[in-house]
């Protein structure tokens, strides 16, 4: 009997104009949303490839002071289905000694034009939730009230059939109508992804996509029940549709936007300027210490600043060759003191930065919690978690593993004792170091006997260094040395959260939805049993 009713409902639904329109919308919008996101993903991939090539060069260094591993994160393929915040964060990180901050530069999702940030984009899950939740309600709003209006409900009840059987039959009928549409949407999207060039999903990723199906069915069940409840509560179907549509608009447009703005006003927005000021102060203090130390070692070693070839850059990068022994010693003593100090300073600066991020996270978490009022937003959050584009995954994958890797990398440098070795800034073996006098004597082929003579001559000739080109000394150019062998260097790795863990994480939300569904079903049942069919 139940099946009979269900099939009748199913055929009825199939013949309606709303089914045709809904199906056509799915047919057009789902492929379109996927094409849009595939394009975006491919742009990201292009950016990633460019950055990755550059990153490989970051290991081709000759001295340890230049060794600052760069990490690029590949774009998340599942962001095609659910974008989440994957497009907001930078994708390239550089491990540095004097900063713990990890939000470095890099391609921002291939959007070269910052103005495009103001265009919002939608993904598969958004479109699915928009259209299907609307149609779930459109199919159920007149299930009971509509039949009452047309007078068929009386006829149905005149048969020897329990009211609950009719209700279950109707429910199954609607599910039968929507289920094929949902599955069709997913199959279509899978087909598009399979056919798309440059995109390939692993088995685990397909599993996550497959998991989206039951999750979306659970969510659409909620909308079906809401529609059914209204239909059983009110006598006129026009009232039911109105209430359904208002619930839909509030749930999709009002609550998520309001939650975000409200969270912003409830959790005090952190001020970037504070961090800038504190960091400036910390840097100044450190600078003072470094300056004092430099003076003292200069007194100790003496200071001539002669080097034949050299290079330098950010975060302590210094590379020398053919320098005087004094300068080499000076540098060694300098880095031995400075580098640990900079690491310590980074820890201090990291406190403020972490607070900043914590506040941002608190704001986001509150917004998400407030948005739980809207069933569609719950679906968004769950699908983001499943597609690894939510904040928890970001933190686990990048922030935490990056911090861990930074610690491991620094421990590696410390274990090799590079800060107090010459290898930190030069590859020239210490036994080949010469004093300034010697260098001048050898290079000038005996024209000058001491550095003082040369300096005097140089002053008279307007800074000319050409006499030193006479006799070359081998191994005094930085390019004479091959890159460092870094076979024992730790490699960055990050484990993506397991599917099971993700499920457990979303379990609470899904269980909540199921509970609400049970309550709604109970209410619908009560209303339907008490429904006045006249």
């Amino acid at each position: 009997m139940i099946l009979n009713i269900a099939f009748k409902e199913f055929y009825n639904n199939l013949l309606t104009a709303r089914f045709t329109i809904g199906f056509i919308m799915c047919l057009f919008l789902i492929p379109f949303s996927l094409v849009v996101n595939l394009k975006d993903y491919r742009e990201q991939l292009k950016g990633y490839e460019i950055e990755r090539v550059k990153t490989e060069k970051s290991y081709q260094v000759r001295v340890y002071s230049a060794l600052r591993p760069e990490i690029v994160r590949p774009p998340e393929p599942l962001s095609i289905f659910s974008k989440g915040i994957s497009g907001n964060a930078a994708n390239k990180f550089k491990i540095q000694l004097d900063s713990r901050e990890s939000t470095a530069d890099g391609y921002e999702t291939g959007r070269e034009n910052p103005l495009l940030m103001s265009f919002f984009s939608m993904d598969f899950c958004t479109i699915l939730v928009f259209i299907l939740s609307l149609f779930a309600m459109l199919f159920t709003y007149d299930a009971c009230s509509g039949e009452r209006e047309s007078g068929t409900l009386k006829l149905v009840f005149a048969n020897p059939v329990h009211r609950w059987k009719v209700l279950i039959g109707k429910l199954i009928g609607v599910c039968l109508t929507l289920l094929p549409v949902i599955i069709f949407c997913f199959l279509l999207s899978a087909l598009i992804v399979l056919l798309a060039p440059q995109v390939s999903f692993s088995a685990g990723e397909w599993l996550r996509v497959a998991l989206l199906i039951p999750v979306s069915i659970i969510f659409f069940g909620l909308f079906i029940l809401i529609g059914l409840l209204f239909s059983c509560c009110f006598r006129a179907s026009s009232v039911c549709i109105l209430l359904c549509l208002f619930v839909w608009v509030i749930s999709i447009f009002i609550i998520p936007n309001m939650a975000n703005s409200l969270a912003k006003s409830l959790v005090a927005a952190p001020d970037n300027e504070d961090i800038v000021t504190v960091n400036l102060q910390l840097n100044r203090e450190m600078g003072k210490k470094i300056a004092e130390h430099s003076q003292s070692i200069r007194k100790q070693v003496g200071s001539d600043f002669f080097y034949w070839s050299g290079n330098g850059g950010e975060d302590g990068y210094t590379e020398l060759a053919g320098a005087s022994r004094n300068l080499m010693d000076l540098n060694r003593l300098y880095f031995e003191f400075v580098e640990p100090l900079r690491i310590e300073n980074a820890e201090k600066k990291g406190v403020g930065e972490k607070e900043f991020m914590d506040k941002m996270e608190a704001q986001m978490k509150l917004a998400n919690r407030l948005a739980l009022l809207s069933p569609t937003d719950v679906f968004r959050q769950v699908s983001n978690t499943l597609c690894r584009t939510d904040d928890d995954t970001r933190r686990l994958l990048y922030y935490e593993s990056l911090m861990r890797y930074r610690d491991v990398f620094i421990a590696y440098l410390k274990a090799k004792n590079v800060f107090s070795s010459y290898e930190y800034f030069t590859r020239q073996p210490p036994e080949t170091f010469m004093s300034y006098d010697e260098i001048v004597r050898v290079r000038s082929g005996g024209q000058f006997n001491s550095a003082a003579e040369f300096i005097k001559w140089q002053k008279e000739h307007g800074g000319d260094r050409s006499p030193l080109n006479k006799v070359p000394i081998p191994g005094t150019a930085i390019t004479d040395y091959p890159p460092l062998e870094l076979t024992d260097m730790p490699i960055f790795e990050c484990k993506s959260p397991s599917t099971l863990g993700v499920l457990r994480q979303s379990m609470g939300k899904i269980a909540g939805v199921i509970c609400v569904e049970l309550v709604l079903f109970f209410l619908t049942f009560v209303c339907f049993v008490r429904y006045d069919v006249r």
Binding site: D40, I85, S118, F120, S121, L138, S265, R394
Partner: protein
Amino acid sequence: MLFHIILREIRSNILSLRMFLALVLALTVFGLGTFIFVVNYQIDQKICERSRQNTIGRMKEAAAKSLIFLAHRGLNLDFGPRSNSFISNSREDNLPVRFAYDSFKVHNFYVWPGRNPLTDSCQPLDWMFIVSIIISFTVLLLAYDTVSGEKEARTLALSLSNSVSRGLVLFGKYVSVIISTILVLIPGTILSLLIILSLGRISITRGTLAEIGLFLAITILFVACITALGILASVLTHRANVSLVAALSLWLLFVVVVPNTALYWAQSLFPIETMENVTQRINMEKENVEKGMPKGWKENRQSIAENYAKLENGSLAAEMRIRRDWYNQMFRQYERTRLITALSPISIFEYLCEAVVGGGYLRFRKNWRDMNSFQPQFLEFVKATDAKDPESPHQLTPYSWSGGSRKPADFSDVLIFKEKAPSIHERFSHAGIYLLIMFFYTAAAFALSFVLFIRYDVR
């Protein structure tokens, strides 16, 4: 007769549940949205004011050190929140609001750095949002069954049996929907204004009142457009629930699909040069400038300072030429994409609101233009001050610090950029094309529904 029809329709609308629900929803969102706006405005204002003070502090510090230090000091210019953004925020949370400049160049523009990267992009609940979502939705709910609903209830045949032309009936229904919608809108705006006035943190000037008036005018135009579309959906079918689905699909298309695919159109139809490419071009141009220097200029001690200045100014000019070209590409890409999204009346309404409040992209472009004409003035000021110092070599260059005065500058003379709101003319020329499209849309939809209504079978 027309008056009679309108009055009857409005009366039945006012008594309807949908009008009541819409009114409740609109009032709630107007109230809450405005309240949140006032709180957030203060927070943003405070942060932005601090950033501005810090920038001025940095300028003062630099000026106290030396003129050349001030000339090279990289500065940020922030555009704070607008006090009229309760009407329309115009997506300023996601548009660039910070310019980086020094006396030699306006280097780049950025989105506000304090923006939370962890939350999804969302729209604040300003008036524009409420009108474009809730009010447009209300309009559809009021309009979808004006014809097909009456046909189902069999009252349409009765109405038309009177000595009244079909056009008049349709027009009467059209006007009555617009008026009913305005009846939903007005209490909300009044509530919103009352909240702002009673909290007293934001002053409402005469300019703001004028903007509110303009906003209401544009809203009426927008409502007229959506009503025409709703009535079109109604005359397309003979059954009210089919026209509801049609109207909702149309609405979904305009609210969700068209605006949210803008990024795709931008990337695929109007691609711009990649950053890599631009950097390469800049480097090449810089090399060319260096090659173009006279031979052996580094050895010529007498003119070396002059030549250095020439080289550096030349390569900066080359870089800025390429950069400006690139930025113009960005602006064009953005503007063209917006024209594509003008397919949706809701996007058009958003752009019109932007023009009304002088915010969003209009504000950005105006400030960018103003900033680019301010920077040469700033440089002129630096040069003039430098000329007063007899000890300076008078060779100001963008990259090296040796060519300018090392004496401190008097900060009270230093030019500071002040933001100017876009003029009426600028706003109008920004809105012109969108106004035209909107008029066209309304007229086309109404004409089509008129034709269909004339041929409508009332049986």
